[in-house]
Subunit: 105 residues, 4 copies
Amino acid sequence: MKGYSQGAQGLEELIVQLEAFVEERGRVQFNSPKNLSMALVGEVGELIEPFQWLTQEQSRHLSAETHEAVRQEIADVQIYLLLLARKLDIDLLQAARDRLQTSPR
Amino acid sequence: MKGYSQGAQGLEELIVQLEAFVEERGRVQFNSPKNLSMALVGEVGELIEPFQWLTQEQSRHLSAETHEAVRQEIADVQIYLLLLARKLDIDLLQAARDRLQTSPR
Amino acid sequence: MKGYSQGAQGLEELIVQLEAFVEERGRVQFNSPKNLSMALVGEVGELIEPFQWLTQEQSRHLSAETHEAVRQEIADVQIYLLLLARKLDIDLLQAARDRLQTSPR
Amino acid sequence: MKGYSQGAQGLEELIVQLEAFVEERGRVQFNSPKNLSMALVGEVGELIEPFQWLTQEQSRHLSAETHEAVRQEIADVQIYLLLLARKLDIDLLQAARDRLQTSPR
């Protein structure tokens, strides 16, 4: 899990990059939470595709090419999830932490 | 975006909590990347539901109750995304950063 | 595949029932194609859930209870797909037929 | 809703074509209900994409090009839904009919 050590700072930088990314593309006006939730679905649909014909065992040992494709799709899902959370003024990490503590066992 | 300031440390703690969470529930053996990608879809399906009959404008002004429901669903998506990334040894933040830099404008 | 023999007539009757169903619930005004595509996602999210922790082999031999739950979710997906196609004036069967003939091998 | 008049016969023919389609592609062995439910998600993800940045009003008046793209995606969803139902020995139309009659108002 190396790389996560830059997490806190990294997450804030990522959010700044995201804002620039979105504004440059002039899509700010389209970014209602409703639309972002739809975009998230599209990305998750792409993420699941590489796994659909694999056995569970095969999904544990992806080829380098498929692993990279999945890595990019996971990134897209993370980006849209951050955009959606941000739009709704939700602190993603805190929300995840709260969820783990209240989830039934 | 307060709360993100604990990001780096928070993300690592979250991952530790996630591991404990999953192990306690004895689902470790089911957590193939294939299965986790499916669980992610189920969570995104729940996340989109509160938005489906709303206008875009309404989706910007959720009731307190709906906002809290959405917050929990967003958290669930984040948790499964982290679990999936972890299973594939993918650094989520780095992947998102890389994606922003290579994405076509 | 018994039961399909009532297909042609059955499909038309189903559409009439769908119209009554939707009108009675007063949701006609919400049924934009955009919203219906979101509702479809929610239903597919529910459909995938019973399968997510199963092996492929287990998914071929569902318990009676799970089979009935899946049957209902499949029905929901079919209903929203018909509603969406109808809203867009698309003939579902013809579209599927055309797709099979033009799909690359 | 013209075109539906060939429904009953059309649906049976469609199923025969589907079998040939699947067998020719040699994917028969992969078609567990679990995998087919995943493929369905991928197709629904593609179906929702054309709608994600549109307003509801725009989604009612698609360009000819987008309408054709959506028509193909709807067809793909229908094909995988039929394949899944078939694999589970579920009569799609009957399931939809039953669902409409038992659904709460």
